[in-house]
Symmetry: C2
Subunit: 158 residues, 2 copies
């Protein structure tokens, strides 16, 4: 591998992002892990036009910022997946834990409807008030039928 | 829909993220759109432990920041997909254009190898030096076999 002589460390400088909108749960008490539930994504009004045509897609990838994670918790390097000590201690990038250096969430949701600047979606596991960073229409390039996962992962749902 | 009385606009305040690493292309002249090419993700050394176990997965979702997009271009609300005027003018959130409010990229890659803090991947369509924000192991929850896409999308590869 060549030395990164031209890097000047600029790829690691901090990045500022402004949310494009936020999540609204229909009830603040519901279990966000229940993927059958519906929530709304309220996009900033001035970005409403940027949603035009999105209703042609059945599924979206939602990129959000888990703002309720305390700064302390983003310093974890290893976790037991879902806190389960029967599973191995793993690097956070091997898991989907929210306790990661940048607490970014990524979830595939079903798009049910668009009403102006509001998207009605099913399956978003984000709390009420979560800032949304981006929305991407899902297509076949976003998936593979050949994915392999480690043995411990198969126990997640057991 | 209830009024967002408790929002206080805080979900829209700016967010600061520090990249977890950056992309290295093997040659700076190669076509990043060629998904058969290999690139490296250099993770910050102090985060190397956070990669432990990731090699158990065959595929990763890479979330990166397209730092070469001029600020001006992030103000676009509508684009012709890939600049093709034979396709409709669409809201940027209906497309995968880099010209979006937060120029975040999301790509499914094949993980070939890990060497300490370096991941060797195939299929990452990011330029040399691109800051990486997060890495997620891909699993079956990240895909659906029932995705519908609009008619114009089917012409993208024609």
């Amino acid at each position: 591998m060549n030395k990164p002589v031209l890097m000047k460390m600029s790829p690691l400088k901090e990045i500022e992002l402004k949310p494009i909108g936020y999540v609204r749960r229909l009830s603040k008490r519901e279990d966000v892990k229940d993927r059958s539930l519906i929530s709304h994504i309220i996009v900033r009004k001035e970005l409403a036009k940027a949603l035009e045509g999105v209703e042609g897609f059945s599924h979206l990838l939602v990129i959000f910022y888990m703002h309720e994670i305390p700064k302390e918790e983003t310093k974890a390097l290893k976790v037991h997946p879902r806190g389960r000590t029967d599973l191995p201690l793993l690097g956070v990038f091997s898991t989907r834990t929210a306790y990661r250096p940048n607490p970014i969430g990524l979830t595939l949701v079903e798009l049910l409807k668009r009403k102006g600047n509001v998207l009605v979606v099913r399956g978003l596991d984000a709390f009420d008030g979560t800032p949304v960073l981006d929305l991407k229409p899902f297509d076949s390039k976003d998936m593979t039928l050949n994915a392999k996962v480690p043995e411990w992962h198969k126990k997640l749902h057991s």
